[in-house]
């Protein structure tokens, strides 16, 4: 057990990575064995993440240095600066890792039945595992270059999965668009990393942060990082790839793409809060993020209303919900230098934004999975062709309703808990933003009423007379997420205090992050 806890950071990345390529071999033996293998691996990773989470919450940030005999010492063998590759797991990283582990496992379970009738599944599961590797890597990495590497691993595997259905042209088109933007973005991240290396001779985030001078080059790097990660998380007006990629990917992959976007969101926060923190002009950068957030919220939801492809509609809602997170964190950033404001509402706004991340991953994942279930039985994603499905698929209808009420911020589901935190704290910062956020929430409800009405309500249509409830594994996948939603909805206080508050504190307290890695200096 101690061994597992000690090496958990690298095991969480290494096990799915090795398993990804082992999956190809095991597929040769038997597809059934492969399925069991993939589920086992992802369950084990979830277990490791929870173990590591316990460790982080009880004894603070964990550092793991690769290639050294003392893995927890940041500067081994007498070096005064950290030169080795390092994994750092603090409250924010482990918070994202929990989301990633849960959604990856659910995605894999759901895929068992959903993807059953397609060929090439060995590659599918390989890429799925690689995708979770990319996300874990981005969340745990302690240096800028590995951030780029894992970002690229994530882009490559998720693009390949978006284009998984090659018998049609559209998935490849969506994947190509996503890939072009991801590649340009990732190369800009590398450029920013090079700017840091050129100035500070370091790649380690803590090292750069401690030497940060905020020169012109740092400003350029900051602009690059903010723009790239805002694009990767789908902030308007750089969101155009999102509806394309989300709507054309297989449903379980879409649920994971939501988390992949949030990994980019995490990278944005890590960059802004840990790399720069108060050295940057908090008000300007905070407002940039707030404006991106408000635009995302509003344009995302208004574009969702007239959509008739169910997954495209949900993808626009994903953009709109990302806006809430950006708004919450942006307010936290804008008042970062001001201790009074930070304590009175800034930190609460950040907690709201972070809590919304985990809630969003759960309910948006659930909604995409229900959309996948609809697609599975009807063979169409067009809402105009649907109707009366609740007669035959009552469980899916209930799951959809839980997800829809949660995304619309209806009490007592989890979406309400995080939204009320954002509303109240943002209201103290700027009332207009808060009112806008509420209007967006109403429009969200309106558009999900539309989906629920046109897909599930109404008389039974003759063309869907013979549809059946979806297979068990899909129901289990959706059930896990619904359970989490209700759990988070009923116990918001426990969730916020145990996992969200450490994440917010980890982001705000740059000093303790640097001290942990560089020592007392």
């Amino acid at each position: 057990m101690n061994f597992l806890i000690l090496h958990a950071p690298i095991l969480i990345i290494a096990i799915p990575l090795l398993a990804a390529f082992a999956t190809l071999l095991i597929s040769k033996i038997s597809p059934k064995l492969r399925n069991i293998f993939v589920i086992t691996v992802l369950s084990f990773v979830l277990f490791l993440v929870l173990l590591l989470a316990h460790q982080v919450y009880t004894s603070g940030m964990q550092v793991y240095v690769l290639g050294s005999n003392q893995t927890t010492v940041a500067t081994p063998s007498g070096y005064s600066i950290p030169v080795r590759i390092m994994l750092t797991v603090d409250g924010a990283s482990i918070f994202m890792a929990i989301i990633t582990a849960i959604v990856s496992l659910v995605g894999a379970i759901y895929s068992l039945s959903f993807m059953k009738k397609y060929s090439g599944l060995d590659k599918y599961y390989t890429l799925l595992l690689l995708m979770s590797v990319g996300m874990f890597g981005m969340e745990f990495t302690g240096d800028m270059f590995n951030l780029f590497v894992f970002l690229e691993i994530l882009s490559i595997s998720s693009c390949a999965l978006v284009a998984f259905w090659t018998h049609k042209g559209e998935p490849s088109e969506a994947a190509f668009k996503y890939m072009v933007l991801s590649c340009i973005g990732a190369l800009f991240v590398l450029f920013a990393t090079a700017l840091f290396y050129g100035q500070y001779n370091a790649l380690n985030i803590a090292m750069i942060a401690s030497r940060m001078k905020y020169s012109l080059l740092d400003k350029i790097a900051l602009g690059l990082l903010v723009a790239v990660f805002a694009m990767k998380c789908g902030a308007v007006p750089m969101h155009m790839w999102t509806p394309d990629a989300y709507s054309k990917a297989p449903a379980p992959i879409t649920a994971m793409l939501v988390v992949a976007s949030q990994a980019s969101l995490y990278a944005l926060f890590r960059g802004v809060f840990t790399l720069y923190n108060v050295t940057l002009n908090c008000l300007t950068v905070g407002w940039i993020i707030i404006i991106l957030g408000v635009l995302s919220m509003f344009i995302g939801v208004t574009m969702a209303l007239p959509q008739h492809d169910v997954k495209r509609l949900m993808a626009y809602h994903a953009i709109s919900q990302t806006g809430y997170m950006l708004l919450g964190i942006g307010v936290g950033l804008a008042v970062l230098g001001d201790t009074n404001a930070l304590n009175s509402y800034g930190l609460m706004a950040m907690k709201g934004g972070l809590f919304h991340i985990i809630n969003h991953a759960m309910y948006k994942g659930l909604l995409f999975l229900t959309a996948g279930a609809i697609f599975y039985v009807t063979g169409t994603r067009d809402l105009n062709k649907m109707g009366g499905l609740a007669h035959k698929m009552p469980l899916t209808a209930i799951f959809f309703m839980i997800g829809a009420l949660s995304i619309a911020g209806m009490p007592p589901f989890n979406g309400f808990a995080s939204k009320i935190m954002i509303y109240e704290s943002v209201y103290k910062f700027n009332p207009v933003l808060s009112i806008l956020a509420m209007v967006v929430s109403i429009l969200t409800l309106a558009s999900f009423v539309k989906v629920f009405h046109s897909a599930f309500m109404g008389p039974q249509l003759p063309e869907y007379k013979n549809v059946k409830e979806v297979p068990k594994s899909m129901l289990i996948g959706m059930g896990i997420l619904s359970f989490m939603i209700i759990l988070f909805g009923v116990f918001p206080d426990i969730v916020v205090n145990t996992i969200v508050a450490p994440a917010a504190n980890a982001l705000v307290n740059q000093g303790s992050y640097i001290t942990k890695i560089l020592g007392g200096a």
Partner: protein, 114 residues
Amino acid sequence: MFTLETNTGFWNPIIWIIAFLVLCIVIYVLRSFGESSYKKGEQIKPFLSGNPEPEKGDVHIRAGNIYWGFTESLKEYYKTMTNIHTGDINDYVYWFIGILAIILVVVSVSGGGL
């Protein structure tokens, strides 16, 4: 344990659920005071000015017709928005580079922090 403090207020799902259940019971009680002369079977059929009832599938309001009024009154906005979402990869890159340039300029011009 269930109460989420938000500095300015609080949120307790348990109180909300209890209130919701109480409300449901009140509504049920009110409903039970309803008309007792209701006849089952005969009165559930729709009366469409004496016209025959259409097929079930035709009654269902399809998604495209919902919120027609909303999109119609915001026609100009939706027209602009649809024009922006061209689906052309060049435009995607164009938007990305444009926003990147704006952010770079704003960040570079603004001074340092503390």
